[in-house]
Every structure is written in structure tokens, then in C-alpha cells.
């Protein structure tokens, strides 16, 4: 049986959240796109380019939150290092964009990026070769985070590193990478990272159409990954993953090699994070080692927690909401926004242990209970 047939056969079990989610996501994106491109700035329906880039960034973050939720919410692997995969994907894209600059750089070197000219490098380092090809760079977006996740996951899960130990070494991983990428000798632009991008696949990154196209691509990819992930988690594989979260030793005694399942899921999640990074970079225009900062990775976890882990849409909502709050707060109260953000995290953990999605779940079940209480079906039979 092919994958596709399986997919189709499972279509019925795709369940409720996918269709509404995809519809709302793509619908809103389409509205934003139309608002930006068709309505003149004076119109009330106009959506500014600022909003478009902001939305693009939010959606990339949502994808990243999705990646974290897959491992944390469904498999109990709390990764405090997902920022690393995100940044690696971003760097792969950044390298492609750097190579696209060509001789339009400050020093006009046709091959070497500006920062290399400036460090007196004569030749392109080997790991930059091929990055001028879009397909190759995109392959790297998947492969580099995937490979790192595979090596790391294979080591960690094989030796059964779990719980806080795992969380802390993922943090060590991203911290080590941050220090490494800060080094100018690494050939990734040091602290400044990669910036000053010109165009992507020949389209100018400054053009509104390109921005809208990027937003739409991000939305489509997010919708696709959401659907795919939803399907994956509904298969028996997904059931094994959830079972690992709730009792890994038990799953082993059932004959599943749980380390391989965890590695596979970790790699899948890392690749999603890599894709998110690759989409993030052209929309914000810069990638630098700050993305590896351990605090960033913790923040991703916070988004997921706020939205509600263990539900895919919860992660997405959490990421959107927290980032929107950040944008608003930093502008409205530049001196006090950290108070608000901090308080939000504390309150959500205390009052909404299952996040906003959990709140929704609670409300809807209590509503349903009210409904069923009015028409008790076979009450005797069940009790």
C-alpha cells in the first residue's frame, strides 16, 4: 500500500481540527494578501506591508511551535534547544540568499560575501559550495537540522537520557552552537550573521509581491505540515509516540524500539523547525547567532505552553498570541512590557495548566455536559 492510499484511507479519521484550522489560516492569509496588493494605502481595507512581514514572522514562529509541540506535547521530550534547528535552517536559507547577492555586495566581489572579503578570505569555504543552488540550499534546510537531530537524538535516546537531563543537554547543544556561530572563523559572519539580502529565486525581497508570496508560502507550508503531522499522529506510529510519553518502559515491553521512534520524531520535528527557520529569514531579513540563544528556545516552549501542549492548534495559537502580545507591548509600554509578559507566563501556568486549548476543552466539555444532563441517554446502563 502506498503512503498516499493510506493517507486517503485515513481521511475520515482526520478529525475536526484540521479542516477548520486550514480554512481559517488560508482564508486569513488570502485576505491579508488581497488587502495588501489590491487595496490602495488610503483604503480602510488596506493591509500594510509591515503587517504582512509581521504575519509572516508569526507564522514561521507558529511552525516552530508546532515542531516543539510534536516532541514535547506528544512524546514528552522537552527540548530546550529547538532554536538550534530553527537557526540552522535559517542559516542554510541565509547562505543561499547571501550567494544570490553576487557582485551587488559592498565590496563587489562576485563570489565571496562581504564579511569574507573583509576578513581577507580568498576562497569560499567548502561548506558554502553549492549553496547558490536553490534546491541544494533547501535540501540543506532539511538535512542539516535533521542530521544534527539524528546524531544528537540517537546518542541521547539510545543511552536513555530523559527528563531534565535531556532538556539541559539540548540547552547545552544550542548554547555550544551559539558560541560556535559567534566565532568569526566559522565563516558564518560571526555576530553580525547574514544580512543585506537582495532577492530570492530572482524576486526582489523588497517587493510587496514577494513578501505576500512568502507569507502565502509560509501559510501553505504551515497548513500542509499541520495536516501531515495530524495524520502522522493519528496512525499507529502516533499512538506509539503518545504511549511513549505516558509510559516509555511499558512500550518497550510491548516490543517497540522506543529510541528509534523518538529519534524519528525528533528528526521530523527538527526538520519542521528548519523549514520554519528558512521561511523566517527572508521575511525578517537577517539571521545571526542570537537565534541560538538558549532563552529563545525556552520562549518557544512558553508559546506552546500558553497555547496548550498536546494539541497542534494550541501550539500555533500560543505562538501567534504571545508574539502578537510582544509586538503590542513593546510598542505600547516599552519600559514595562516584560512585566506583562512575565505575568502572562506565570498566570497561564498557574491557572491554565493545559493552556488556552485546554481552557477551550474545559469550556466545551462543560457545555456538552450541560447538554447531556438535559437529555440523559441510558443513564442506568452506563452507571
Amino acid at each position: 500500500m502506498t503512503l498516499w492510499q493510506t493517507f486517503l484511507s485515513r481521511r475520515n479519521s482526520l478529525g475536526s481540527p484540521v479542516l477548520p484550522f486550514v480554512t481559517i489560516l488560508l482564508g486569513l492569509t488570502a485576505l491579508a494578501a488581497v488587502g495588501n496588493l489590491w487595496f490602495p494605502p488610503e483604503s480602510a481595507l488596506h493591509v500594510s506591508t509591515y503587517t504582512i512581514t509581521l504575519l509572516g514572522k508569526y507564522l514561521s514562529f507558529a511552525m516552530l511551535a508546532l515542531a516543539v509541540d510534536i516532541v514535547w506535547g506528544y512524546c514528552g521530550i522537552l527540548s530546550l534547544g529547538h532554536g538550534a534547528f530553527f537557526a540552522l535552517g535559517g542559516y542554510a536559507m541565509g547562505m543561499y540568499l547571501m550567494r544570490q547577492i553576487g557582485s551587488r555586495g559592498v565590496y563587489g566581489d562576485p563570489v565571496l560575501p562581504d564579511f569574507m572579503v573583509f576578513l581577507d578570505w580568498d576562497v569560499l569555504p567548502w561548506y558554502w559550495l553549492g549553496m547558490d543552488q536553490f534546491w541544494f540550499a533547501m535540501l540543506m534546510v532539511l538535512l542539516v537540522p535533521g542530521l544534527l537531530a539524528f546524531v544528537f537524538g540517537w546518542l541521547a535516546f539510545h543511552s536513555r537520557v530523559t527528563g531534565v537531563y535531556l532538556s539541559i543537554i539540548t540547552q547545552a547543544l544550542t548554547y555550544a552552537l551559539m558560541l560556535a556561530f559567534f566565532r568569526n572563523e566559522m565563516g558564518f559572519g560571526g555576530n553580525n550573521g547574514l544580512t543585506d539580502f537582495k532577492d530570492l529565486l530572482g524576486f526582489s525581497l523588497q517587493a510587496d509581491t514577494t513578501r505576500v508570496a512568502l507569507l502565502i508560502s509560509t501559510a501553505l507550508i504551515l497548513a500542509g505540515l499541520f495536516t501531515l503531522t495530524h495524520w502522522v499522529l493519528k496512525t499507529r506510529f502516533g499512538k506509539v509516540i503518545e504511549a511513549i510519553r505516558d509510559g516509555e518502559p511499558r512500550v518497550r515491553f510491548l516490543g517497540y524500539r522506543t529510541d528509534r521512534y523518538k529519534v524519528a520524531l525528533f528528526v521530523y520535528s527538527a526538520m519542521i523547525a528548519g523549514i520554519a527557520g528558512a521561511l523566517y529569514v527572508p521575511q525578517v531579513g537577517i539571521i545571526n547567532p542570537g537565534e541560538f540563544a538558549p532563552l529563545n528556545s525556552i520562549e518557544i516552549v512558553v508559546w506552546v505552553a500558553v497555547g496548550g501542549r498536546g494539541t497542534l492548534y494550541g501550539a500555533v495559537i500560543g505562538a501567534l498570541l504571545v508574539n502578537y502580545a510582544k509586538t503590542r507591548f513593546t510598542a505600547l509600554m516599552p519600559d514595562g512590557w516584560l512585566f506583562m509578559l512575565g505575568a502572562l507566563f506565570v498566570l497561564v501556568t498557574l491557572l491554565l495548566p493545559k493552556g488556552l486549548a485546554g481552557l477551550y476543552g474545559q469550556l466545551s466539555t462543560s457545555w456538552k455536559r450541560d447538554q447531556t444532563d438535559q437529555h440523559p441517554p441510558n443513564k442506568e446502563a452506563t452507571s
Partner: protein, 428 residues
């Protein structure tokens, strides 16, 4: 010092928030402030935010600009570099500010640059930096390397007879470039390679024991040795503390720093460091009436007599004054008009001379060398006879030797290659 300034800080924080959001009557001219108020850079940048707010307040008291009031729009990019770009876009498109004062680190400026060029914004960048840049949309009011590093080295060679050099810096672009320029410069002067030691450390490096000990060893070879420090921000305090503890006195091995000003020194006890040096275009201790006026204004504004002033504040001051003059000259806040009006503007600087905006968007400023005193101030021990024009493209780097920035007609180019006669690189 009492708790009073702390309380004032509290009220001020609230007040400034209100001020930035409350709309002032009759179509104000908006001034964007893009400095980090949280995160690692807040320590340096908050002061500059306050400086801009002070200048805005002062300008409004003097009747505003073009008959319109000024309104400051403060945002917090939170020391997050991509956020700088986003916030710049927000300022330019949502808030529709006419000018931005902002950025501290090079990477934040690099991050903002494409946005400025795309949306044709105008930014004043008030911090000393590595040069190698000249954007049409940015005015660089801090020092270029030739306004800080080169005179500093000359001073050490000529006045102190230094023959052996330690170039110590944080591993990022500003120290890298400065040290490359200095290395080339020193080699040109005939300094042997083994007499130059280059050392890079990560950001916020806090354990300096080994490096200071290495410097001591390097400096005990019989030749007069000096350290040229491009160590950034919060790594300085532990570095200087270690210097003091290991007894590296300024008499033995003087350290000259390009990133250490009054504000950095106010964070620790400087008595073991007396005599170490810094090179800037401004020191609070400058004996000039303009400076005293500025300090008084600052103290009155911030409500704390102990707050110091520093070079980036002077750069902000000069930049703001120049922008006001240019707007008045152009009669509009339109970026293209202001950009052209800016070139050739002169403003009395705080050191008693005159700052001139050159065609390459860099200032002509005097260069001062100061020695650290035990009260956290600098004693000026040397200064250039006149002003030094800022050089966007260093003459000591092979890649930029032939480049020239000239934004006046007819050239209007940020990196004109004098060898090929073309304006290479970015043309938006």
C-alpha cells in the same frame, strides 16, 4: 546617593511611556527612538533614549520645529537584532516617523539598514563603529576607526614609547575590523609580527584570569607594552577588575579602550585603574562651557546629579541639532531634502569646537585621549590639534582602500570605486 534617583526612575519610566503615547496637538513631527530598553544592550542604550527625549523636550520648549511640535515615539527592540528591523519598519510605516535615532551595535544597524533603504527612512547612528559603510539613509555621528583607533595608537607610540601591542577585543565585527586596521597600520610603521598579540573573547566574557595573565607575560619581555582594547560592553567590568587584582598598573602596561566611557566606568570602582586610557571624541571632563551647559541640562532632565555623560550622548546631541538645522534649512522633513541639507551642516560640539557633517555622512570631530581617574571620570591628556574627518572606508584595508563615499551631487554614491570609476554595490 540616596533612594531618590531610584524613585525618580520609577516615575520617569511611567512618565515617558505616557509621553510617548499621548498625542500632542497639531500634527507633530515624529521622532522615532529605536534603542533597546531591555536585554543585554539596555545598559548602554537606555541612556541614549533618555538623551533623545531630553533633546525633544528642549526643542519643544524652544518652540518646536517648523512651527510644529516634536513627538518622540519610543519602541523597545529588546536587544534582539531581527526585532530592530521589524521595529524600524513599524516606526516608518505605522507611526510614520520623520527620523529615527537609534541602534548601538553594528549588527542592529546592519539589520535596520535594508528597511531604511527600502522605505527611504532617515536614521542617526550615534556610536563609534568599524566604518566600511556609508548609506544614503544613515548619518554616522559616532567615530570611525580613523577618529579613534589610529590617533590612540599614535599617542601610545609617540608619547608613551610603546613598542609591543596587545590587541584584545570581543569577537565581533567592530573589534575585528579595528584590529585589522591597526595591525596593518602598525606593520606599516615597522612593528614586527611577534610584537603584536591579538586576542578575541566571546561576548560577556567574565573569566579574564588567563588572558590578563597572558598579557602580563607578553608585557614582561622588556619592551614597553600597551593593550588596545576593543572589548565590548559588560565584559569590561570583569576585565578591569582582573587587571586591578593582578596588579597590572597603567605605569607598566597601559590599556587604551575604545568602548569604555564614563557610563561603563560608573559601574565599578576605578581606583585600581587610574591611568588606563580611553580614546573618544568627547569626555564629560572636557573644560568647555557648552559641555557644562549640556551636563546641567542632563542632570536637570534626569533628576540625578550623579548620572554621567558620554561620547554617544554627545554624538546624539550633535546628530539631533544637525537634523533640526537641516530640517529648518530644507523647510520640510522630507528625507531626500533633509539628506542633502544635512551635508555641510555645522554644530558647536561639546568640546569647544565645531562638528561638520561631511559628504560621506560622517562627522569631523576632534579626538581626545583620556586617562581614567579614581572618580570614574577621564582626565584628558592629549587631543588632536584640529578636527579629524571621519573616514567611511579605511585606507588600511586592501578591500576598501580605493572606495570613496560622497553623497553630494554629482557622485551621490556610498561606495565609489576610484580605480574602476564605478559606484559598485547596492543601488536601490
Amino acid at each position: 546617593m540616596t533612594l531618590k534617583p531610584i524613585l525618580q526612575g520609577l516615575t520617569f519610566a511611567v512618565a515617558s511611556t505616557v509621553l510617548s503615547t499621548a498625542a500632542i496637538a497639531e500634527d507633530p513631527i515624529k521622532v522615532g527612538v529605536l534603542h533597546s530598553l531591555s536585554g543585554t544592550m539596555a545598559i548602554s542604550e537606555t541612556t541614549l533614549k533618555d538623551t533623545v527625549l531630553m533633546m525633544v523636550e528642549q526643542q519643544n520648549e524652544a518652540g518646536g520645529l517648523l512651527g510644529r511640535p516634536l513627538e518622540a515615539v519610543v519602541v523597545d527592540p529588546a536587544s534582539n537584532w531581527p526585532l530592530f528591523a521589524e521595529k524600524a519598519r513599524e516606526l516608518l510605516t505605522q507611526e510614520e516617523v520623520d527620523v529615527i535615532f537609534g541602534s548601538w551595535t553594528s549588527v542592529s544597524r546592519k539589520s535596520v539598514l535594508p528597511v531604511l533603504e527600502e522605505l527611504n527612512g532617515l536614521m542617526f547612528y550615534p556610536v563609534q563603529y568599524e566604518g566600511e559603510e556609508s548609506s544614503r539613509n544613515v548619518f554616522y555621528t559616532g567615530a570611525a576607526p580613523n577618529q579613534q583607533a589610529i590617533p590612540a595608537v599614535d599617542y601610545l607610540r609617540n608619547e608613551l614609547g610603546v613598542e609591543r601591542w596587545v590587541l584584545a577585543g570581543t569577537d565581533y565585527v567592530y573589534p575585528r575590523t579595528t584590529n585589522k586596521i591597526l595591525e596593518a597600520y602598525l606593520m606599516d610603521l615597522g612593528v614586527a609580527e611577534e610584537d603584536i598579540m591579538i586576542n578575541y573573547t566571546p561576548f560577556s566574557h567574565s573569566d579574564w584570569q588567563s588572558i590578563v595573565s597572558d598579557i602580563k607575560t607578553f608585557g614582561s619581555a622588556g619592551k614597553k607594552t600597551a593593550v588596545v582594547s576593543t572589548i565590548n560592553g559588560d565584559a569590561n567590568v570583569p576585565f578591569y577588575k582582573e587587571l586591578g587584582n593582578q596588579g597590572v598598573s597603567s605605569g607598566d602596561i597601559p590599556v587604551i579602550a575604545f568602548s569604555v566611557g564614563e557610563e561603563e566606568l560608573s559601574g565599578f570602582d576605578t581606583s585600581p585603574l587610574v591611568g588606563h586610557l580611553a580614546a573618544w571624541n568627547y569626555f564629560q571632563s572636557v573644560d568647555a562651557d557648552a559641555n557644562y551647559d549640556f551636563i546641567d541640562m542632563w542632570h536637570a532632565y534626569i533628576g540625578d546629579e550623579d548620572r554621567v555623560t558620554n561620547d554617544p550622548m554627545e554624538a546624539t546631541y550633535i546628530g539631533f541639532k544637525m537634523w533640526v538645522q537641516a530640517v529648518e534649512l530644507a523647510g520640510t522633513t522630507d528625507v531626500d531634502a533633509v539628506e542633502q541639507a544635512m551635508i555641510g551642516q555645522t554644530v558647536a560640539n561639546l568640546t569647544g569646537g565645531t562638528a561638520v557633517m561631511n559628504k560621506n555622512h560622517h562627522l569631523s570631530k576632534p579626538v581626545l585621549i583620556g586617562e581614567i581617574q579614581d572618580d570614574g571620570q577621564f582626565e584628558i591628556v592629549w587631543q588632536t590639534a584640529g578636527v579629524v574627518p571621519g573616514d567611511a572606508w579605511s585606507d588600511f584595508l586592501p578591500g576598501s582602500r580605493m572606495l570613496l563615499a560622497d553623497w553630494a551631487p554629482p557622485l551621490k554614491c556610498g561606495n565609489y570605486n576610484t580605480e574602476t570609476g564605478t559606484c559598485s554595490g547596492t543601488v536601490y
